[in-house]
Amino acid sequence: MDRARVKAQLLVVGGGPAGLTGAIAAAENGVDVLVVDEGLEPGGQLVKQTHKFFGHQGFYASKRGFEIAKILKDKVKNLGIKVMSQTTLVGFYDDCAVAYDRENNRTIEIDYDYVLLATGASERFLIFKNNMLPGVYGAGAVQTLMNQYGVLPGEDFLIVGAGNIGLIVAYQIMQAGGNVRAIVEISDKVGGYEVHANKVKRMGIPILLRHTIVEAIGKGRVKGAVIARVDENYRIIEETKREIVVDTICLAVGLQPSVELANQLKVELVYIPELGGYIPRRDENMRTSASNVFVAGDLAAIEEATSAMAEGYIAGYAIAQDITGKDLSKEMERYREELNDLRRGPFGEKIRKGLRKMGIDVPSGGYREENQKDFGPVGKLRAVIECYQNIPCNPCEAVCPTNAIDTGGNINGIPHINYEKCVGCAMCVMKCPGLAIFMVQEFDEYSVVGIPYEFEPLPEKGQKVILMDRGGKEVGEGVVHRVMVNKKDKTHVVFVAMERGLERTVRHFRLPTREEEKIVCRCEEVTREDVEKAIDMGFTDFEELRRYLRIGMGPCGGRTCRLLAAGILARKLGKSIEEISPMTLRPPSIPLPFSAILRGDEK
């Protein structure tokens, strides 16, 4: 076994959002930093996040997680920070820290003055029958497989838990080409953001509240699941048990901080359920009970990656201030303000309560709570914002070229739009991380709705689509009017023309699938709809239908479709089949080689 001994002023354990920002903040101030990270590449769980982040425009908002990972990795590289990948910090001992580098099968002893623990969290497991069956995976695990490695582990998924992770993973499974059969949530409300829930609801994915998983079905591999309703004490109601056919079950039931190394460093751990369970006690600068040990990210409290980054910066500056003696209080204050804004709203309540138990006060309130009632002037091409919760996010406000959108002075405020200023450019639709902004315009005969669209394939102008309402119910057919391709951010805007009045209900669409077509003629793949449409167009005679659709002209000679087509024709025309004249049936009556048709002397 190879051995090495290295030195660093600051040892950062974990190269995720918290660890990398901590390393950056310290290195920018002249601290010698070493990052030890387990992953194949640094970036932590950012590398598998394909959704756009909420938060402040200017502090990574509206960027997708994997793009943020790239920005941070580039900064780390430019600052010359040493990163040991595929290396796990296995233990802290009295004289040094010990890491194992599995790529080179090497043990590394590390001397350090300060340590920043950014070890993240692990997914919680759940107790139910047959829960160890292969195919029962953590939701984050499925996200890693599909978004980092491009592998979708199944076709039909059940998600357990409707927090943000469950909702996001459900959406991303659909983007990767899978089907989500249901999301079950044991409590009586969706825990994640409404905008995330709306994205999956309008695709028709049921979110079953007060439901849980009872059993995984299968031997060796998931073949289904039993789900059931629960009563007010979360006990399963036996008679509501039912089976659903799925091949993969994703558990999105929360995370727990990875405190093992913190415990080895003998920092004080406290149990605060609001923050994720056992966590290291720390002050507002992320310093633990040991003066040279700092924490940040999910280890400090289960929260979003954006708060992890703010905490990383604070910890990095605090450490740099200790080591270099520079006054970095302004920098720390800036990120504390950022954190305060991220935690100020209703979704920050749990975190605020948890932090108060450690003696850290976070302000709440101070933002606009009123929804905009106005749907805007009928007939004008305009944006309609359907964002009704106080979540910390403002890219819509920041991107609007005419300053038509404002969040009322704080990023937690409900965005309002000034319809006099809105020019209908759809920039906000492409930017909104919650995909909660739509374009609307009414015409005399029809209306057009612009829908944010992040799926493959992108429809083309003139294509027929099936319209869906906010709950995923199919409410009619529409035609693609215009497609705004967004090459950079990949949130395209598809404008769909539909019956007037539907502009207030339609918020999604899907392309018709081959599986839902009803075939009449197997040889030429003519559908019942094709036949009916042709009759409506005026082809009311069998012979005409045949020439127009090629129905009955295939190799079977009409044996399969003749009666079916005659039936449709009779029904449409209000005649009996006897009154319909059969088509002319020409030779050959079966498919033949050409040589069989030639006379012997012909060449």
């Binding site: 992953g39 692990s122 195919g135 995976y137 695990a141 890693t144 980092q148 491009g150 591999r221």
Partner: protein, 107 residues
Amino acid sequence: MERRIKNHPILDFEEKGYVTIYFEGIPIKAKENETIASALIANGFDIFGFTEKGRPRGFFCAIGKCSSCLVVVDGVPNVRACMTKVRDGMKVERQVGRGKPTWTEPE
């Protein structure tokens, strides 16, 4: 069963750089920058091993935390399939129980 994503609206997955690894003696195609776990799942293998009591065991967390995906790599047991990059010619076996420990004398 091939479970690789062909078209994705946000991500580009490169179609190049394959190596061959052997799972229980069966040659499978793996991308050179992926983990053993993703290569196995991509090729339809969900059972990574068996517990001491004979229960089939798959992976669970995919980020190196749960130790559910332990496999035997080139004779060495207790290797986390989700954190270990594939290598051309690598021999991966299902681990049974805690695996048979190996010990080589330090040089």
